[in-house]
């Protein structure tokens, strides 16, 4: 019996070598398919480096799930995202609400999904705020003051103040203000007002709230004067000519990642509960807001001076 066992084990061990010696050649290995790639742009919603660090785990997760190598490209300006679709070959991007509205009109992109924040909201709104101690409470008080916008291609950081001034009979804020400049990020707009580098600022409420949670001075020393309508949170959109299968896989991965333990961990780091499906209809409020301000999205000059 023991002998039989030994023979069986030896036979099992020799089997791979015997197979290798077979006169019949094994079929050649299948050619490795080229890896699908996606270059996704990121807008400078916050500190450029933090923004990149926030999205990197999500890109890796999408690579694991879709098999497509997802590379990220951070952009120093909101408006650059539209330029980069033309010059740098972006396949898609996480758009702000206004930049998506612009990109759809200028480039032709299709929105897929957007995150639901930890407070279970998937929208944000813009805020105009000042330091309490500066005595600014109305548009009249803003005359001759310094205004920290975010970018000309943002709803919260530009469209809202534009709307505010227009509603208060101020057609050209550049003449009305002492200085108007663009911080580039919502974060810096808040900090500039807080630190006295600017007198008035505009930014999105989600960033304002996150900074306020970390720095109590914000709620104590700043006061909000105006808010915009709710608009969709930054959403991912792809070029329309992207492979349908890849687009569907990407969308499916995003919409189901809250059901996957790995995805859940990534969502926690990202600061969201889940991704939800997003369509052009969700941006009707932005378009309406732009039209209210008499902006032609197809011809709008989004470049900051």
């Amino acid at each position: 019996m023991r002998k039989r066992w030994i023979v069986s084990i030896l036979a099992a061990l020799c089997l791979p070598f015997l197979a290798a010696c077979s006169p019949k050649d094994p079929p050649p290995p299948a050619k490795k398919p080229s890896v699908e790639k996606l270059l996704i742009g990121l807008i400078p919603e916050q500190n450029l480096f933090k923004q990149m660090e926030r999205y990197e785990p999500l890109a890796e997760y999408l690579f694991r799930k879709t098999g497509a190598k997802v590379s990220l490209k951070i952009l120093p300006r909101y408006g650059n995202i539209i330029e980069n679709f033309r010059s740098s070959g972006l396949d898609g991007a996480f758009f702000g609400s206004f930049t998506y509205a612009l990109a759809r009109a200028k480039v032709g992109v299709e929105v897929l999904a957007r995150p639901v924040a930890l407070d279970n909201t998937s929208t944000y709104h813009g805020l105009i705020f000042v330091r309490k101690d500066r005595g600014i409470r109305t548009a009249r008080d803003m005359k001759g003051k310094r205004f920290a916008f975010v970018d000309k291609a943002t709803t919260a950081g530009y469209l809202l103040p534009l709307d505010y001034f227009r509603d208060h009979g101020i057609p050209d804020h550049n003449d009305y203000l002492k200085e108007a400049y663009f911080t580039g990020t919502h974060e810096d707009a808040v900090f500039d007002v807080l630190n006295g580098k600017a007198d008035i600022g505009a930014a999105k409420n989600t960033v304002f709230q996150r900074l306020a949670n970390a720095d109590p001075r914000i709620m104590k020393e700043l006061i909000v004067l105006e808010r915009s309508p709710d608009v969709p949170e930054n959403a991912i959109a792809l070029r329309k000519d992207i492979d349908v299968s890849l687009r569907n896989r990407l969308k499916e991965s995003l919409l189901t990642m809250h059901l996957d333990p790995d995805g859940k961990r990534v969502l926690e780091r990202f600061g969201a509960l889940r991704f939800i499906e997003t369509t052009d209809e969700d941006y009707a409020v932005v378009v309406k807001f732009a039209e209210h301000n008499r902006l032609n999205l197809a011809t709008y000059d989004y470049k900051n001076d």
């Binding site: 400078p44 500190n47 450029l48 480096f49 200085e179 810096d188 900051n304």
Partner: protein, 482 residues
């Protein structure tokens, strides 16, 4: 010996295992020291790398807005790399103080990154832009200063640590040299000890065997222990047995001589003696023989009768009768023999002194024995005892059943002078006697008879004076069983 070998091998294994473990530990310690040194130098390189990266970012910052400025992507990647380097530092273990310094460095780096981010994103007038750039540059310079300070501090520590580590590695090297040199030496010593432990007892046994072969049957092996002790005990037992067998052979040879002599006497002396005896008896019955001559003739007849007895003894000894076994009550037989002896033999054997007989009979089972032979043995011992006490004394007769229940013990003691120690081994030899008229056959025949009953007889001097003969008889002799 087996235990000693096992213990020795275990000790050997333990010593070498410990040495092996120590060597491994030493090598491990040395490699760990080297690892630490390498890590420290890597950390040093990392710091230098970090410093270079900061300088590169500072350079990028300085060149911003000039015709030589690098692309946004390059600058961004340089800043990200700078952040990655500082994050790498957190992957290593640090002392609390080191961690504190590292945290401060990380915080400063983050501040620098935030400031750089502002520079890269802000779109404002030239003054504001320049202010942002200047602020970022100042933070970068402060960071460079902080890193330089850390490098200066750690460089001095690194030199010291390197010296210490190299010293420890040097010591480790000497310890390894020592172990390499000591290993074979210890092996040799331990091997020598084990071999000596095995060969010495073998040599003692070989020497003893040679002495035995040389005829020294009294030589015994002493001083060996363990398994060799057991071999020595067996050897000694064998030597004792050999001596006994030799003595038996000698006795047998003597018996053969006596037998041949007795047979010769029987044929050559017995018949003429019988003729003489008859002639003397007839002659003494003649009427013309004077009464005084008759007495002489009668004396001659008595002497001849005594000579016939002697001849009979010779014949009995040389050609002993096979015992005819029957149930015998030994205590009763001893009583009868003592009574018979007191009435008919004591006068001839003893002197003028008073003999006190002490009997201590234990309860004995009936044994199978030849009553005639047994009685003769007892009588012989009693007569010897009486001869040993010419001025009177105590004749002790004691019996008991041995603890095993298979042997009875009979002791016959006297209170005479005992037997000289140099003669005590010879008392059972044929023709050995200390009595002027003894034949030297009484005790020899007695032992012969007892041994025919599968028993044994021995003699020893009593501590208080006198001799003690001890007879051991089986309750059921093997001869009887057959």
């Amino acid at each position: 010996m087996k235990r000693r070998i096992v213990l020795g091998l275990a000790l050997y294994s333990v010593v070498f295992s410990l040495a092996g473990v120590y060597v491994i530990h030493t090598i491990r310690t040395a490699t760990t020291e080297l690892d630490k040194l390498i890590t420290l130098h890597q950390v040093e390189i990392l710091r230098e790398h970090f410093l270079l990266q900061i300088r590169k970012v500072q350079s990028d910052l300085t060149l911003m807005g000039t015709p030589h400025s690098r692309s946004f992507d390059t600058v961004f990647e340089n800043v990200m790399n700078m952040g990655r380097i500082i994050d790498t530092c957190f992957g290593c273990h640090h002392s609390p103080r080191g961690t504190e310094r590292l945290n401060a460095l990380k915080k400063q780096t983050e501040t620098y990154k935030e400031s750089l981010s502002r520079v890269m994103t802000v779109r404002a007038n030239a003054t504001r832009h320049a202010a942002e750039e200047d602020a970022a540059f100042r933070i970068g310079e402060a960071l460079i200063g902080q890193v330089n300070e850390m490098i200066a501090f750690t460089t001095s520590r690194l030199g010291e640590n390197t010296r210490k580590a190299m010293g420890r590695i040097e010591r480790t090297k000497y310890i390894l040299y020592g172990l390499v040199a000591m290993g074979p030496l210890v092996s040799t010593v331990l091997g020598f000890v084990f071999i000596l432990g095995l060969t010495r007892p073998v040599k003692v046994l070989v020497d003893s065997t040679r002495k035995l072969m040389g005829g020294d049957l009294d030589h015994r092996v002493a001083g060996l222990t363990d398994e060799f002790g057991e071999v020595a005990a067996s050897f000694n037992e064998m030597a004792g047995s050999l001596k006994e067998q030799m003595q038996k052979m000698q006795r047998t040879e003597q018996m053969v001589v006596v037998g041949e002599l007795a047979a010769g006497l029987a044929h050559e002396i017995k018949n003429p003696m019988a003729g003489i005896k008859v002639a003397m008896s007839v002659l003494s019955g003649e009427a013309y023989i004077l009464a005084e001559d008759k007495a002489v003739l009668q004396k001659v007849v008595e002497e001849i009768t005594q000579l016939e007895g002697l001849m009979k003894n010779f014949l009995n000894f040389a050609k002993p009768q096979k015992p005819r076994l029957e149930p015998v009550n030994v205590n009763q037989m001893l009583n009868t023999t003592l009574t018979f002896h007191l009435k008919h033999q004591a006068v001839g054997a003893g002197g003028s002194g008073k003999i006190e007989i002490v009997k201590e009979f234990g309860e004995l089972p009936t044994i199978l024995a030849d009553p005639t032979q047994l009685q003769r043995v007892f009588l012989n011992l009693f007569l010897n005892a009486l001869h040993a006490m010419p001025r009177g004394g105590e004749l002790g007769v004691r019996t008991c059943l041995e603890a095993d229940g298979k042997t009875i013990r009979i002791g016959v003691s006297d209170t005479g002078n005992g037997i000289r120690e140099d003669l005590i081994d010879k008392v059972f030899q044929p023709f050995f006697t200390t009595k002027p008229k003894g034949t030297g056959l009484g005790l020899a025949i007695s032992r012969q008879m007892i041994e025919q009953h599968d028993g044994a007889i021995d003699v020893a001097n009593r501590p208080g004076g006198g001799a003690l003969f001890t007879i051991l008889l089986p309750v059921k002799a093997e001869g009887a069983a057959a």
